[in-house]
């Protein structure tokens, strides 16, 4: 089918390594670690008690209309900062003539953080025998719970804040396919433009699960690294000694745009989206398909969509969470798709430095792909010391590498088995 070309014209990010694109990028190229203690609550006794959090973020400095968003949740404030950066870079600021009904938004944002203290106090104070006394619970809940804190937990609220900030009147969608969400969002945003439903789409994701129940949930699933004494080197994608991911938080927002539309308004093109693929493992809620068939299907559909062959891919930005299972399965899937070429294509995981931004991971990783092409350099997989015979690809260990990079593939796989792949190339 003949359709419109889609380009990226703006990018913004707020993450554990930086509150803008360039700071983040130089941190990644120098192999910095975003890990540290949990500064948001006292996690000292938690089996896993560190994280990759966003530190010293100055919301009011980044978002001139901060007052308007005073109720916004933590992840939403990141998204507003990232969104404004992207909007500015795309040259859309002060672009009064932009037809807002042709402006869409498609995000992969997570739920807002729970009002934890009040939430647990309600359970404790209304507990009777083996359950809550619902009448007592309700009475106390009306005294303690705040309407805004509750509303802002709905995962579409980031959409609402960004929609208000940029005056969106076109299509507006949020998806929450767990760790794959923002990659999925950017893929579907691309489709929206290809089909002509919008000329410009704000896309990406935002998430923070650094709260007691978020960390509890992942700890119970044994998904988090327990290297409490070695936080800086705890995230070890593809390394033999990997023991889980490090929970991160943040937001990355990108401006997707119809190529002709971008040209007509004289925008600078940062990259072109060539392909998108989505699939489901349909295997188990707790495990990935051990053969990586679902992951391979997403990569293959993205290649088919891009009309490219595996040989055309210069770099794979891995999902690479540093769980035993993901890294082994992803390696298998890359081999299944790339064949002999698998050993020649560099595959790296910036989660070694950034931690896992969950719903926001894919968008942040796509930004690194765009920059890899711009600067002809690949971000490394840090903390890589002990090779695992089951993970035997070129993971760009420990040091950034100069390379000829034109076309990049970015993978995201969600808990529950939803897989997404995007392929981009540098500005044509």
């Amino acid at each position: 089918m003949n359709h419109r070309r889609v380009v990226i014209t703006g990018m913004g990010t707020v993450n554990p390594l930086g509150h803008d694109v360039e700071t983040t990028w130089s941190a990644l190229l120098s192999g910095k670690s975003g890990m540290g203690p949990v500064g948001l609550f006292d996690a000292v006794t938690f089996p896993s008690n560190f994280c990759a959090m966003v530190k010293d973020y100055d919301f009011a400095a980044q978002v001139p209309s901060a007052e308007r968003h005073e109720h916004a949740g933590r992840h939403c404030k990141f998204a507003l900062g990232a969104g404004i950066q992207a909007w500015r870079e795309a040259g859309l600021e002060g672009c009064g003539e932009l037809d807002r009904t042709r402006l869409g938004i498609y995000l992969g944002s997570g739920e807002g953080s729970l009002d934890f203290e009040n939430f647990v106090s309600l359970m404790v104070d209304s507990w009777k025998g083996s359950g809550i006394d619902a009448v007592k619970w309700a009475e106390l809940a009306f005294q303690r719970m705040d309407m805004w804190r509750e509303v802002e937990q709905e995962s579409n609220m980031v959409l609402s804040h960004l929609g208000a900030e940029f005056g969106v009147r076109g299509p507006a969608v949020n998806v929450l396919t767990a760790c794959a969400a923002s990659t999925q969002a950017m893929g579907e945003a691309t489709r929206m433009i290809q089909r002509g439903e919008a000329d410009v789409v704000i896309s990406g994701g935002a998430h923070s699960m650094i709260h007691p129940l978020g960390m509890t949930g992942f700890i119970r699933l044994t998904a988090l690294s327990k290297r409490n004494d070695e936080a800086n080197t705890a995230s070890r994608p593809f390394d033999m000694t990997r023991d889980g991911f490090v929970i991160g938080e943040g937001s990355s927002i990108l401006i997707f745009e119809d190529y002709e539309f971008a040209m007509a308004r004289g925008a600078k093109v940062l990259a072109e989206v060539l392909g998108y693929g989505a699939s489901a493992d349909a295997f188990r809620i707790t495990d990935q398909d051990p053969e990586g068939d679902g992951a391979a299907t997403a990569m293959r559909s993205a290649l088919r969509d891009a009309k490219l062959r595996p040989e055309d891919i210069d770099y794979v930005s891995a999902h690479g969470t540093a769980t035993q299972q993901n890294d082994e399965v992803e390696t298998k899937a890359v081999k299944a798709v790339f064949g002999d070429r698998a050993y020649k294509v560099p595959v790296s995981s910036v989660k070694s430095m950034l931690g896992h931004l969950i719903a926001a991971a894919g968008a942040t990783e796509l930004i690194t792909c765009v920059l890899a092409v711009r600067d002809q350099v690949l971000p490394p997989t840090t903390n890589y010391k002990t090779p695992d015979p089951k993970c035997d690809l070129d993971y760009v260990p420990n040091k950034a590498r100069k390379a000829k990079v034109e076309v990049c593939m970015s993978n995201s796989f969600g808990f529950g088995g939803q897989n997404n792949t995007l392929i981009i190339r540098g500005s044509a």
Partner: protein, 437 residues
């Protein structure tokens, strides 16, 4: 819509007024009301204690034997989706691996899934029994929680509450290995999922997609949030069945309900080749956003007039062609008025003359579960050429001129239009066309 034509060949609904499309539709046509005193939890501490509850429901009847154990790790929202999926596939005649005793006749890689979800609420008794093991001097003790209390929570706890688990369980049960998504845009989710899935098929990315949404807010936390938003009906406890009154002069807020609807979307040629029953063709869809939606304390319909216009335009029809409007009708006075205005802005004067229907009078608000059921109702209206009565509608609020009726109406219907909007400012609409050989 450009590309391949997409039709609806299966309907699966789980609602307070009936489980399965036939039971639901008969209840709608008969004008049956299903709102009652809440039995799922003791709601007597809330100003409103009524809801649209699905009685005696469990997903275990709707999964293959081998999957029954998994029902334990499903929040109620997930159970509703899983049951609706079973009903939808069976209704369509497509055999997936989730149908015991038969050989699957659909290519898993060409089978997609797209199920809308809301913010799933934790079971307070389950979580509380772990939380209360970490208490010091009558207060929750975070240190104690980290040091051991945490172990009292079931390992898979988080997986009960991830909103993608509705779709994930359905993909696992039925082997849907194609494109997979789940949209979380409140009440607009179902329409959005169905619109997006139809485009996957039109573009050739999948041949069959199961799409729609499900949600239950009938638990203390979900119920509380609707109260805090001040959307819940006032004074309805003494007459639960009559409490939700969409567009009526006496509308006084919504009733919190639970439920879900999933439809089977299929490439027309595939459906014809297997001589499937075709309920309707998906002729157009659209979505929109209202920047004012951020002010959640004020009524907002998410730019629904734009979504409706786009859907009608994509279907290539004029407002005059539309035989039935399946309205969203929350029963919140400010929302009803803005919704009626949006229909009018999008369609013109003919909006109020077009026969309309809202299921909320009977079942209450189904949130992320609403859209799939509304699409199923629109498909049934086309299939049976009937517009059901709207339960609890007596006389229209002056500011809500809508073509609702207390009586069922039969007549020629070629196109059905349905739209919905959620808290926060997003909306979506779909146009269905009667399928004729």
């Amino acid at each position: 819509m450009s590309g391949r034509r997409v039709v609806i060949t299966g309907l699966g609904v789980v609602t307070p007024a009936g489980i399965g499309i036939q039971e639901f539709w008969q209840a709608m046509v008969a004008g049956r009301q299903a709102v009652r005193k809440i039995a799922l939890f003791d709601a007597s501490g809330f100003p409103c204690s009524i809801g649209g509850e699905i009685e005696g429901f469990s997903a275990s009847k709707f999964v293959p034997k081998s999957y029954r154990k998994s029902v334990k790790v499903m929040a109620r929202d997930i159970e509703i989706a899983v049951a609706a999926a079973d009903l939808a596939f069976r209704d369509s005649g497509i055999v997936t691996r989730g149908i015991d005793g038969q050989k699957p006749d659909v290519d898993s890689k060409r089978l997609g899934c797209n199920i809308g979800a809301g913010l799933i609420c934790a079971d307070l008794n389950e979580l509380g029994s772990a939380v209360t093991t970490a208490v010091t001097d009558g207060k929750f003790d975070l240190k104690k929680w980290g040091a051991g209390g945490i172990e009292n929570l079931t390992p898979l706890w988080l997986l009960k509450y991830l909103p993608n688990m509705l779709a994930c369980h359905v993909t696992i049960v039925h082997g849907c290995e194609g494109p997979s998504n789940n949209i979380t845009c409140g009440d607009a989710s179902g329409h959005l999922c169905i619109g997006e899935s139809a485009r996957w098929i039109a573009r050739g990315e999948a041949d069959v997609v199961i799409a729609g949404g499900a949600e239950s807010k009938l638990n203390p936390m979900g119920f509380l949030r609707q109260h805090l938003l001040d959307r819940v009906v006032k004074g309805g406890n003494d007459r639960p069945a009559e409490a939700c009154r969409p567009f009526d002069t006496d509308h006084a807020g919504t009733v919190v309900g639970e439920g879900g609807g999933l439809v089977i979307l299929e490439d027309l040629d595939r459906a014809k080749a297997r001589s499937a029953k075709i309920y309707a063709e998906l002729a157009g869809s659209g979505s929109a956003c209202d920047p004012g939606g951020i002010e959640v304390t004020k009524p907002n319909v998410g730019g629904m007039e734009l979504a409706v216009r786009k859907a009608v335009e994509q279907a290539g029809i004029t407002p005059r062609d539309i035989g039935v409007l399946v309205a969203h009708g929350t029963g919140v006075p400010g929302e009803d008025r803005l919704e009626a205005r949006a229909w009018r802005e999008a369609l013109g004067d003919i909006a109020e003359k077009t026969p309309a229907f809202a299921m909320t009078g009977a079942v209450g608000s189904l949130f992320a579960g609403a859209g799939g059921v509304e699409l199923a109702a629109a498909a049934m209206a086309l299939d049976t050429q009937t517009v059901p009565p709207t339960a609890n509608f007596a006389a229209a609020d002056d500011a809500c001129p809508m073509g609702l009726s207390r009586e069922r109406r039969d007549g020629r219907i070629s196109y059905a239009l349905t739209a919905a909007f959620g808290i926060g400012g997003q909306s979506a609409a779909c146009v269905l066309k009667r399928y004729e050989q």
